[in-house]
């Protein structure tokens, strides 16, 4: 088995932080922990060559580094690409993750790395790259390299990879359906009884914690402010011209309300499968309160109401859609010079 290994300046034997700006070197054979790696990956395993690069250089010149690594791997074929272990070195982890992903995507070569769960490389790459959980303790190097070797062998051999717990990699964040013998009811009661007896149990789903959004500064002068109405309740013009889906919507639309003092039932319909839409259909202002805001605009309470309202459907919509929808809508809103948004949500 032919291994290509990536190490930073420290593990590559060049030196510590003062050498973080070192550019890429390619050495024949194994360097540093690479020797341990190759001994643990089996009799025929050999590190064909080792990439060594300074952490700062790797991050500042990521594209060039990636291109150089790919070029070398195109010239000299390997069976597996191993990066690190990186422990809690953040620049190292980010570089390792990026290279692993590029190698997989561009060359179809399996890759594995290792880092501590808090390493910024994890959030960026965990869903596409196998990252062995290394913890922060560098004295555990041998154990971690052993896990990388075992996982690397399986990947190179095209074997099925087991659960994160079994194989030692950080949960990648994906779900797969699995048909089991026990009904959900039985699993539910089993789990409760274990919890009540203070026995260990494994929840079938972990929660995800999200970083909070910092609060944007309040409006200083409402009477000069430009506002826009946005909704995720799926209100669309009759005929749904932008074909906004009623579930897991991938599209949003901006609809002209210039000169209108209220929204009329005959002009709109609702594309949203998650609530009883007849009340909004009877009077769309019950979802998008144009009439109230138009009055406030006329009375000078607000400066201006933007000429369009923006709409999409929030039902069963995963973050992988809504992050993009939110970003696109935000870009449009910024372009229009809008100061504040009223978002109505069902």
């Amino acid at each position: 088995m032919r291994i290509a290994h990536y190490l930073n300046q420290f593990f590559g034997g060049i030196g510590a932080e003062e050498h973080a700006g070192k550019d890429l070197e390619i050495h024949d054979g194994a360097v540093g922990p690479g020797k341990l790696l190759e001994s643990l990956m089996g009799d025929n395993a050999q590190v064909t060559f080792t990439f060594v690069c300074g952490d700062n250089y790797a991050v500042e010149h990521q594209d060039e580094l990636t291109a150089a690594v790919l070029k070398k791997l195109r010239e000299t074929k390997v069976d597996i690409f191993v990066a690190g272990p990186c422990f809690d070195a953040g620049r190292y982890g980010v570089a390792a993750g990026a290279l692993c992903r590029a190698v997989q995507t561009e060359l179809g070569i399996p890759a594995v790395t290792a880092m501590n769960e808090e390493n910024p490389g994890v959030d960026l790459y965990r869903d596409t790259v196998y990252i062995v959980d290394s913890g922060i303790n560098v004295t555990k190097l041998r154990d971690i390299v052993a896990k990388m070797a075992a996982l690397g062998k399986k990947l190179a051999g095209g074997e099925a990879i087991g659960s994160p717990g079994k194989e030692g990699y950080l949960r990648r964040g994906w779900l797969r359906d699995q048909l089991v013998d026990k009904s959900a009811a039985t699993r539910l009661v089993d789990m409760l009884l274990a919890k009540m007896k203070r026995e260990p149990f494994e929840s079938e789903m972990p929660a995800t914690a999200f970083a909070p959004v910092p609060i944007p500064a309040a409006l200083k002068d409402l009477s000069k402010a430009k506002l826009v109405l946005v909704t995720d309740g799926g209100l669309v013009p009759k005929g749904n011209p932008d074909r906004i889906e009623g579930t897991a919507a991938t599209r949003w639309g901006a609809y002209n309300i210039q000169g209108r003092d209220d929204l009329r039932a005959e002009d709109f319909e609702v594309s949203h499968g998650g609530y009883d839409t007849r009340f909004v259909q009877q009077d769309p202002d019950r979802l998008v309160p144009l009439d109230a805001l138009r009055e406030m605009e006329k009375n000078g309470i607000i400066g201006k109401l933007h000429d369009e309202f923006i709409s999409t459907c929030g039902r069963s919509n995963p973050l992988s859609n809504t992050r993009r929808l939110g970003r696109e809508i935000a870009e449009k809103i910024k372009k229009e010079g809008i100061d504040a948004v009223i978002l109505t949500s069902t």
Binding site: V213, L219, D276, R278, A292, E295, M296, I342, S345, T346
Partner: protein
């Protein structure tokens, strides 16, 4: 990052800024009050 810092409670899922049980004039007044609450929130730096 996920979440909203300024949240005002509407009148239920099926009519966020309305109330089908009210006569028209009262419903409009309810809507005005809800929207005013939203505008007040936009002028405050307090997370709600």
């Amino acid at each position: 990052m996920v979440g909203s810092n300024r949240v005002v409670l509407g009148t239920g899922i099926v009519h966020v800024t309305g109330d089908a049980k009210l006569p028209a004039a009262e419903e409009k007044e309810l809507r005005r009050r809800l929207v005013q609450k939203a505008l007040d929130a936009l002028q405050s730096n307090e997370k709600q």
